[in-house]
Amino acid sequence: MIETDILVVGAGPCGLFTAFEAGLLKLRCHFVDSLPIPGGQCAEIYPKKPIYDIPGFPSVLAGELIDNLMKQIEPFNPGFTLGERAESLEKQEDGAYILTTSRGTKIKAPVIAIAAGLGCFEPRKPPISNIVDFEDKGVDYIIRDPEKYRGQKVVVAGGGDSALDWTIILADIADEVTLVHRRTSFRGALDSVEKVMDLAKAGKINVITEAQVVGLQGDGNLDSVTIKHKKDGESAKKADSFIPLFGLSPKLGPIAEWGLNITKNAIEVDTFDYSTNVPGIYAIGDINTYKGKLKLILCGFHEATLMVQSAFKHIYPDKKLSFKYTTVQGIEGLPAETPAAV
């Protein structure tokens, strides 16, 4: 089990900066994030967009801001558990928490800082009314093992890189692959688009454009999908598997079950220290809400800074905390974390 001082749920900008402010107080941080890379929305949604309201930076690309934050917190050697979703939280007798991730990783910390932004990114599910009935019975939003589709008739939907890439991979594995896309052009990488078109020309796959999958049929397991064509009505297509690949969207997810006061998908906090209604659990950045809340990165930095002061007192109720400017002594790093003996 990993042990740390502050377990930060979410490795977006506000979460990352927490490791800096915590490090100044000699507190260790460990991050859990469902995305495989740090940076949250800045990395996932808009890495190439310039941000103009970070104090001291007339303009900085979101991706650059994350790179800079990673550099800034490097001396404090925070730990990262990436590509795993924070799932459940259990309070221990000593007052600390043990968090378990979607892959079963366990992390123990006296303080939990939720910096989860809009929640965790999950595959977008098409609003087909009976789609949940076919989940794991023919409908997959993520491909874990392409071998699963050997010998199957597969319908892939979407027009981006993942739809194109998986169509190419499945062309060699599945019995029949059909790619359904609403337009004639694809937004994926050019060579993937060419490859898909070549495969279609060679008759190895079917590409149906200007069409969308709008219905699913089957008795228990998926048997066929209904494809709605822009020009000429609807048609049915035999399918053992339907794989809709429409990107990711954020969901509050399991955090909603942690006993926190939540209003409109945001966690209520006390602006004194950004504490939640549960002692030892804080919420900072876009995920929290309070009177006058603005969802700005710069506000999240402020929240993180005040939060770690309170976290310190929560962890060491008897220790005095002396505040020092970084200009006085510079910063003193922390050693890399060593996993505690299980």
Partner: protein, 109 residues
Amino acid sequence: MEEDLIKITVTDREGVVHELDAPTDMAMNVMEVCKAHELPVEGTCGGMALCASCHVYVNSDHELSEASDDEEDMLDQAFFVEDNSRLGCQIKIKAELEGLKITLAPVGD
């Protein structure tokens, strides 16, 4: 009617029709107007045409600026896209849009 205010009509996913005041002098877009009136529009990316959570159908024949490639790319990630599909964040509120009628598109889980 006040000078800098237009009315737009929004039908939500339950079929309820809302008539909203939209200021033309605040550089707002349809997504923001819906959010300001607490209609269930996510606007996850904040209006950069980088998500598809403000997908709407335009029901009136107002002349709108053509969808950019970015907008078309993002509509690929939306569902039940029709010829009159747009991203609300890309429709800027201006006086010419008085009486604009839109319907919120269905969202997945």
